[in-house]
């Protein structure tokens, strides 16, 4: 993966271009969150989501670096939580976002995986993070019965998001 030329310059300070870029991407991600929130589909198990908004996070990670991706992701989760998902939904999503972002950054650093692979791992890690928070909040480890379901849905959603991100990154380059 080639490094973005913007990255080195923006590392230390909150430059205007960083703020503008992140604001733009966060807004885009929020629109995706909204679109996803209004699609009436019910998979039966709570926590199964496509997570289209993560396309923006993945693209931000590969095009602008970890700092942009983290900023976009956190801003998007907080805003979507306040607007659509409620406080507890936000808490779960925040945990998932932190875990999956960390995983994505680490996996990307290894250089072994494609965008699709990184995104797939992120999908699984996102669900795992949510599950950890849920088990801590509910104080019942039996919630881990959801684990296999969330695992497979995370793989599927992550692959789809990864393919979409690859296509976007191709066009952007």
């Amino acid at each position: 993966m080639t490094q973005s030329p913007h990255k080195a310059a923006d590392r230390k300070s909150l430059s205007a271009s960083f703020i503008a870029r992140v604001g733009l991407m966060a807004a885009l991600a929020l629109i995706f969150s909204y679109v996803e929130a209004i699609i009436p589909y019910n998979p039966g198990v709570p926590g199964i989501k496509l997570g289209i908004a993560n396309v923006v996070t993945v693209v931000a990670l590969y095009k602008f670096g970890a700092r942009d991706a983290a900023a976009v992701s956190v801003i998007r989760v907080v805003l979507a939580g306040l607007l659509f998902n409620g406080l507890f939904g936000m808490l779960y999503a925040l945990a998932g976002a932190v875990v999956s972002l960390t995983g994505m950054i680490l996996l990307k650093k290894t250089g072994l995986f494609s965008v699709t692979g990184v995104s797939m791992a992120a999908g699984v890690l996102h669900n795992l993070g949510q599950l950890l928070v849920a088990s801590a909040l509910i104080e019942d480890l039996r919630i881990f019965f959801y684990f296999p379901v969330l695992m497979f849905s995370g793989i599927a959603a992550g692959i789809l998001v990864g393919i979409a991100s690859t296509l976007v990154l191709r066009t952007l380059r």
């Binding site: 709570p46 995986f113 494609s114 965008v115 509910i138 684990f147 296999p148 695992m151 793989i155 690859t166």
Partner: protein, 149 residues
């Protein structure tokens, strides 16, 4: 962006799928074992009606709360359940499985539900406000308190 998928991706995919399958297998197995000192909890109208060990076979006729509060007729063992109460459910524990075999309600959802055998499972009859569930004897206060998305 070289390509969509690389070798490491496929390895990762296989590892994740195997983890998922192993986890579901482990959960299914551990789930089945849990029945050794499991209890059958019968709740009627929101209150505990009875608690029986899952391992003992028995047949219980549970009157609906309406009938208990108004004029509960004296239980006559010779009469069939339907003659004793207007509103009732017949719960049968047999071979470590619990099922509702008869119900006074119209929809018969609880009867059609079939047998349950694992902790955490439940049969519910809404018209008669009956809940039959299985709990693991060792853990107190089983079942989910709440599940959110």
């Amino acid at each position: 962006m070289k390509q969509f998928i690389r070798k490491a991706d496929i390895i990762l995919f296989i590892v994740l799928v195997i983890t998922g399958l192993a986890a579901s297998a482990a959960l299914t197995l551990s789930h089945d074992e849990a029945g050794s000192n499991a209890k059958v909890i019968i709740e009627s109208g929101g209150d505990l009606y009875a608690r029986y060990p899952l391992s003992e076979d028995r047949t219980v006729v549970v009157p609906a709360p309406k009938q208990i509060s108004v004029d509960a007729p004296a239980a006559d063992p010779d009469e069939s359940a339907s003659a004793q109460y207007d509103y009732y459910n017949v719960v049968i524990i047999s071979g470590s499985k619990v099922s509702v075999t008869e119900a006074s309600c119209k929809n018969q959802v609880c009867v059609k539900h079939g047998a349950i055998s694992r902790p955490g499972e439940s049969i519910v009859c809404l018209p008669n406000r009956l809940v039959v569930r299985i709990e693991n004897g060792s853990e107190e206060g089983g079942g989910y308190d709440s599940v959110t998305s």
